[in-house]
Symmetry: C2
Subunit: 274 residues, 2 copies
């Protein structure tokens, strides 16, 4: 798995008895040459790395597929929010680039519609279909038909595509406002990670804020600003994710003003009082 | 687990790495004294044993709880269809009799309403709540809110209770018609297992039909009659389940006439042609 990465599947894999190893991520995504040879499966978020937001470069995608073929491993491509894209052209998914049938493509309607729907989908290569069907069967037999049918109708009618187009305009505006403000007003505290898709941006904390990132997030929460801190296991790195799926564009400035006050408050404290 | 028993959880437990051991069932339910001492969890269907349909006697319920306490084991009580009851008084659930907090009570709306809803519930003792919450979280975070909210409203309005009362009258009629016909017309082929709840009855095949039960079920299916054969692992026993959740009462007689023809067909064949 990527390090930093998305934690829920890590807990799931560990609960199922898998040994989970974190592999570094840089500005091109997962560092393929750092993958351990004994890995049987690689879980990645190439479209919009979680939490950093970087897109995996085309050369890395090719390198990952070559590595997977060489090591006879499966790749799980979690493409959780790339339906929302703000400029730039999307790179081909691993699942499209794959010619050896070893990529499982995973998508969700949690970001495009509602997390409370609990609807997602997998595109499974032929060699894994029987196993995937069995896994689904022992897990919950099948997913609720009522919401699936309603969603299918929503898609067939073209309403889903219209929703994505309309929502993309809104999210694009928020992404732009938020990105510009972080670069302009938080340069002393945060290093923004460039991104052009999805519903959140990420920023690494500059050295002085690393130790305090959880306290800053907690204080911000008390002020009504919910940011998500992340840490890089075993490394002196940390950062925050700023989601803009659920905040009105007009309220972003006030939210950032409050967040800035939390950073300022920490920065002016004496270290021994921290 | 019970032997014969419900297979989907068996596959689930095995997929999760558990070693699953079948324990015999008699006319009083699970034979508690046959439980292996090393078992950490016991999965039972005491209200309406699946597939046989017998209710676990009160003395067996008490014995199972005593055994579980002595062996520090958990009991999973799957009460999947006892909302429909036709005469007799229900025995106390294990979960109610349990004073040591080791019974997980599991229910479903698949039988009372619709299997396509995929809604059920668990009553978890305090000592297992944190583990159950974590297991749910890694599995699917939470169940879809839309169907849960609709169901909660349906229950709060009293519509669910009215539905159960109305449906019970219909199912009771079907249960009576089916039970009487099996005893009257299938005595040479089947031994009915008495039951007074649920949506299916079960019958053991008499000796001559044991080997052919799958072929008979398959032939009946071709004639439009879906019965479910079951076998007892490692024993020369087999039988069939007859569900009446989805057949109109008026059509039961014709269904049984066709089923009878499948048994007759097998019985008149020469053994070497079987």
């Amino acid at each position: 798995m990527e390090k930093p990465g998305y934690l829920p599947p890590k807990y799931l894999f560990k609960a199922l008895g898998a040994r989970v190893i974190g592999v570094p991520v840089d500005s091109e995504g997962l560092v393929v040459e750092a993958l351990p040879a004994e890995a049987r499966a690689v879980y990645v978020t190439p479209s919009h790395q979680y939490p950093l937001g970087v897109a995996m470069s085309l050369s890395r995608r090719r390198a990952l597929l070559t590595w997977a073929e060489h090591n006879n491993a499966v790749v799980v491509e979690d493409d959780y929010d790339s339906e929302f894209r703000f400029g730039g052209r999307p790179l081909e998914p691993l699942q499209t680039l794959d010619s050896t049938g070893r990529v499982v493509y995973v998508g969700t309607f949690s970001k495009t519609l509602l997390p409370t729907l609990r609807l997602g989908f997998m595109v499974v290569p032929p060699s894994l279909r029987e196993a995937a069907n069995k896994a689904k069967h022992v897990t919950d037999w099948h997913t609720a038909m009522i919401t699936q049918s309603a969603l299918a109708r929503f898609i067939d009618d073209g309403a889903f595509a219209r929703h994505i187009r309309r929502a993309s305009r809104t999210y694009s505006e928020r992404h732009e406002v938020l990105t510009a403000a972080i670069m302009r007003d938080f340069g002393d505290y945060l290093d923004l990670v460039p991104s052009s898709t999805g519903l959140h941006i990420a920023a690494y904390a500059r050295r002085a804020s690393v130790d305090h990132i959880d306290a800053i997030a907690s204080r911000a929460f008390d002020l009504g600003v919910a940011i998500q801190p992340f840490r890089v296991e075993g490394e002196p790195q940390a950062g925050i994710m700023l989601g803009y799926g659920a905040i009105e564009t007009a309220r972003i400035a006030e939210g950032l003003r409050r967040l800035r006050s939390c950073f300022d408050e920490r920065a002016t404290r004496r270290p021994e009082a921290a």
